[in-house]
Symmetry: C2
Amino acid sequence: MPLLVMKFGGTSVATLDRIRRAAKRVGREVANGYDVIVIVSAMAGKTNELVGWVEETSPLFDAREYDAVVSSGENVTAGLMALTLQEMDVPARSWQGWQVPLKTTSAHASARIEEIPTDNLNAKFAEGMKVAVVAGFQGISPEGRITTLGRGGSDTTAVAFAAAFGAERCDIYTDVDGVYTTDPRITSKARKLDKIAFEEMLELASLGAKVLQTRSVELAMRYRVPLRVVSSFEEYDPNAGTIVCDEEEIMESNVVSGVAHSRDEAKVTLLSVADRPGVAAAIFGALSEAGVNVDMIIQNISEEGRTDMTFSCPTNQVARADRCVQEAREKKLINFHGLEVDSDVCKVSVVGIGMRSHTGVAAQMFEALSAEGINIKVITTSEIKISVLIDRKYLELAVQALHDAFGLEKSG
Amino acid sequence: MPLLVMKFGGTSVATLDRIRRAAKRVGREVANGYDVIVIVSAMAGKTNELVGWVEETSPLFDAREYDAVVSSGENVTAGLMALTLQEMDVPARSWQGWQVPLKTTSAHASARIEEIPTDNLNAKFAEGMKVAVVAGFQGISPEGRITTLGRGGSDTTAVAFAAAFGAERCDIYTDVDGVYTTDPRITSKARKLDKIAFEEMLELASLGAKVLQTRSVELAMRYRVPLRVVSSFEEYDPNAGTIVCDEEEIMESNVVSGVAHSRDEAKVTLLSVADRPGVAAAIFGALSEAGVNVDMIIQNISEEGRTDMTFSCPTNQVARADRCVQEAREKKLINFHGLEVDSDVCKVSVVGIGMRSHTGVAAQMFEALSAEGINIKVITTSEIKISVLIDRKYLELAVQALHDAFGLEKSG
């Protein structure tokens, strides 16, 4: 029997009505001939409530108890979803993480999945169960304690189940109807993509397109599990949403697939850093230990043994970064003449696997920005992405200009 | 190390503040030299919310899914209680039913405890853990699914743990400060009892003194676990509350320990029933199948092969009882000439193990009622209890008169 994994996020199961609506989608796939593993999140708001209680009780909480508490939200949804399916005469039962068992590491609150034995669920499928409803986001440690996978862990749970059970596809039901060429709030020309490659999705996800958790996309790419991002709130349509898949399965595509943005960036430059081996390691090692999420790093050529070192980080981490490099200077770990901070920048990126075989994308991007009089402050590139830092006030203008320049309103 | 079991009901853990207050009590017993097993209920209102969701989702719900859903409330409290204790530097951890494991039958939603292996918890106590916080009301079936013990199951969980671990005592923390000679809302002369025998508590509990669940008292009696009922909301006092214990441990006591009442009773009489062998079985078998909770049963002597058969049941079950006996008559299972219903009665009882060795209690009771002009409609007696049905309007008067007549405001 072909098998599907269907994952419903918190807003898709926020009320009993929405659970019923989600269950209808599941019922339809069962009618289509699938066995289904449903992964559910907690009802919207529940996990935040539980986390709040834990933090109020114990600011430096024992992560094992945190996991025992916050995992309960998913258990409630799993049972209610199984009951709803039973009411629709679909043979279903719920499974908590430890019942599967979904085996994880002992890294409480951010555990990694180690193994998902398939025998328990498969035995029930063989007995006629059509739907296994599994509480997402949770597992069991080697010590027999409940673990959670960290925020967004239900997406990862879904992909891991799809990989373990050889599912035909993993459908991620959420509150958006797919992946767009860019943020539709910025330009109405934004177009929903029918397909996008794993690599592109990874770049878009880490750039702030909060549709899928990065880890779940990595996992899907490694195990070649096709993902479908689809809205819970639209009428059923088997072709709805966006398929995230291997690039070989995407026949034709634009050179550029999407324009991503990240609003709250800051640019920090250490002026006149002594340019000797190990200096970059010293700076970024210290920043990493201080918990600063460094994104772009740019080092220009040096003159007379000194260079300028620039990096970007979220605006609200600038103070921390400042303190960190000043302390490193006092400890004589690094040496620089001055610090320049620009907190009013944003990042805009174009992403596309087509770039690998097409030249001139960067030039086209810079021209489009230049035509709008937008000054580029920093540039970085990867194989399938070009990112620039620009003044924050130009964010919308830049996204619109690039979306037009690469013709993204038309499908490839 | 001596061991205590402490159970906190829903109102005692209703908020983070109350959990903190409860944890302080636990901390004090640890300071007194005890290892402690804490049994917690769900935060007040949580179980009702979960039950509401299940019933709305599926009126004839699968009890296995019901259990998976409603058990989650206790898991939350257990984790929060463990965190609170850790904040107070008391080594503690939480245990869910399946982790202990508390093994039960497969009778979902009303499972019975089969076994509580002590090795897992004892291994942790040996490692230095001082408090095991256990989610009450839940266990695991032989099939590995979550079970619940039914309403009030946390009391039963507490007593079962006390029995399994040979606890010195089982303290039931609740929102009343003990067991009273009668309902303090009816007479201000009601006096808190320092001690009461298991048998008396059973009669009082089943008569509507809703302090302890009947099953938990039965279990405590069987395993001779001393219970202490004590308020969470009063200042700490090692002698507070009421001890429920073996009658041998109660040195002196009044002949009568308490006056109980049950307000909403109805008296139903089948007139002129053919008096032949098997007729009582036919009537009460049918009533039982129909779900009527028959309490008192009275059959008078028969005349000319016919007799009157009277029973009492809750007022809101009269219609069901009526329908049931009429149907049984139509099917010719029983035969009677008429049905008399009196829905305006209540039950008043005096309870005391002293009755066993004292005669004249019944006479004294009837005299006291007679002196107030209260007519007795039905009488039943057991070894340690005398119950009467009287007109409902006399309930308060009767309770006050009996409380005075047996001198209950003074300790024995």
